[in-house]
Symmetry: C2
Subunit: 342 residues, 2 copies
DNA sequence: TTGAAAGCGATACCAG
DNA sequence: CTGGTATCGCTTTCAA
């Protein structure tokens, strides 16, 4: 049973395909109310739906955007994607997801695929859009946007929070609670997105407060996951047992640290305060619930998509720095409080 | 700067578009090695990429599949999607994600959209494919697969775990640890996917063991989230303070219960054992880490996509019941163990 | 080995 | 208000 085409509808309704097309596109002109009724009925009866591919060919638009993530299964990606999807829905665009695994070849492959599919815009999430992609990006000649990432390519807006500032604020928060012996669990310092900038913010706050700031106070183990947090935590305890507060560069890292602390009989927050980063759903589920830096991922995704759509419509668009804030929960205790309870 | 087309390439290389096309498609015949070299070079130089839309129109294939989720931001969806995406990558198909919010109108809208986009197959995840979609599904005339969901429509394979059996096993596990006073934190019992079947499994195990099994032992609050777990936990403690072990129908529910237990000074697992369901990343991050029923979501997504692709290639396909298993961690204590430690 | 030409399904211009 | 037709970029058959 072949799909019916506009031709079939035209034949069935005894009109020309031109007329059917006009009615389909609700141009409002070029047909009488009567034919419209008639044609609409036959369309309904036949269960006809226009072929978006044919439409796309002539209109030169695919109705899709592409989204590239290094890892789609991460909680952060899921929330970003949610925001993107809902914006796309409003703009009647569909979203093609691509999982790059942070692999340059895969990324190029996908970019090429998206190019061939004639996507009308691309969101590059959680990663750095380097010069290596310059050529294809230029060729594609459609708007790009980086989301929670950065770009080496000019004129591409970045939608993200100020990581340096947010990390600075998180660290300041700990200092204001009276902590003077701080440590940080970082992601990979070579990560230009979520690694280095957060370290910078941490250091800045310490130096400004004239607090000790040795490199050994900053520990990491490759990535931003739970196990990385556990491992890094051990280094901290070994090298800096005097630590009373830790800034973790992701909620998962913080969770790992908390888990390891528990295993070692260290009480959070009584013996040790921990602040996380991201405010994923995980944060409120931990015991104690995790004080953390909030990034509103869903909103960020939504806004990034909207900026992309504006750009697709030819409007001038700019980078957007999203606000962040500290969500106070139960994993940080002020030093005063600590004394009080003793 | 307009995109270059096959025509441009043909002109530039002084051959016909037919030849370029043949080379592009690596038919292996219809051109000499020499022209091939020449044409490939001009293609490379011009940075030409074929237009997949035009290709799709003539070949009647879009190169995409659609995936519908009730909620893309859920951890479970993210893992399923990951599996789907990686299978799709291998099959050189791209995946269009749709977030239905469990809304029937939205779902229809998306189905229609996917139809128009000529997707070659559809994965319907985490939800029931009811008769309401029968018409469009039939019309679309492409393979469907339900993933971690069920269908009222015939000849559509279901890829999922046996929820009744898995819940039965989880409950049995608690019983085998010596628990006799059990309770369950359920999702919505009207949820035919993850609600009712899990309740059935729970009841079955209790009855079989001739253990008390009143309806009040099963509590819920709409959904499967953290807060639902907290709320349901309160009911359990109020109505059945004798409870020593809880089966929660999702890891998030379990997390909520654990959080509330902690707030009430109830120790897990010493005073109360809890087993979860899903084995999302969350499970290992909790303190104590959560014993839970494992569903391998990423694998499920991968397999579902593969089954879909097989079906797209005209092969006969069947439903697939994935194996589940109990992941023993720290949230369940056997009654013996309990006595020992006292 | 090569090229000309007929579509794929829809849109839009131009006549009538 | 309506219909014929060129066209979008590509594949494929048929001749040369």
């Amino acid at each position: 049973m072949k799909k019916s085409t506009i031709k079939d509808v035209a034949k069935e309704a005894n009109v020309s395909i031109a007329t059917v097309s006009r009615i389909l596109n609700e141009t409002g002109k070029g047909y009488s109310e009567k034919t419209k009724q008639h044609v609409m009925q036959t369309i309904e009866r036949m269960g006809y739906y226009p072929n978006a591919i044919a439409r796309g060919l002539i209109n030169n638009e695919s109705g899709s955007i592409g989204v590239l993530f290094p890892e789609v299964s991460a909680m952060v990606s899921a929330e970003l994607l949610h925001g993107i999807e809902s914006a796309a829905q409003a703009f009647r665009k569909s979203v093609i997801v691509c999982n790059t695994s942070s692999d340059q070849e895969k990324t190029k492959h996908y970019l090429r695929l998206l190019y061939e599919k004639q996507v009308e815009g691309v969101i590059f999430a959680n990663e750095r859009l380097t010069n290596n992609y310059q050529r294809i990006v230029t060729q594609m000649n459609v708007p790009f946007v980086t989301l929670s990432g950065t770009t080496e390519i000019n004129h591409i807006p970045e939608i993200k929070v100020n990581d340096v500032q947010a990390s600075y604020d998180a660290t300041r928060y700990l200092i204001e609670q009276g902590h003077t012996r701080l440590a940080m669990i970082s992601g990979n310092p070579n990560d230009l997105i979520a690694g280095a900038p957060r370290i910078d913010g941490f250091k800045k706050a310490l130096k400004e407060a004239r607090l000790p700031c040795e490199d050994t106070q900053i520990c990491w183990n490759n990535a931003f996951y739970f196990d990385d947090g556990k491992i890094a935590f051990r280094s901290i305890i070994k090298n800096h047992p005097e630590t009373t507060a830790i800034f973790a560069a992701s909620d998962e890292l913080a969770a790992g640290a908390m888990s390891e602390a528990h295993a070692q009989g260290i009480m959070v927050p009584d013996d040790l305060s921990i602040i996380g980063y991201d405010n994923t759903k995980l944060a409120m589920m931990l015991i104690p619930s995790l004080t953390t830096v909030s990034q509103e991922f869903e909103t960020m995704g939504y806004k990034a998509a909207n900026i992309l759509f504006q750009s697709m419509m030819g409007e001038e668009v700019e980078s957007l720095t999203m606000k962040h804030k500290i969500i106070e929960r139960g994993s940080v205790k002020s030093v005063n409080e600590k004394f009080k309870n003793q």
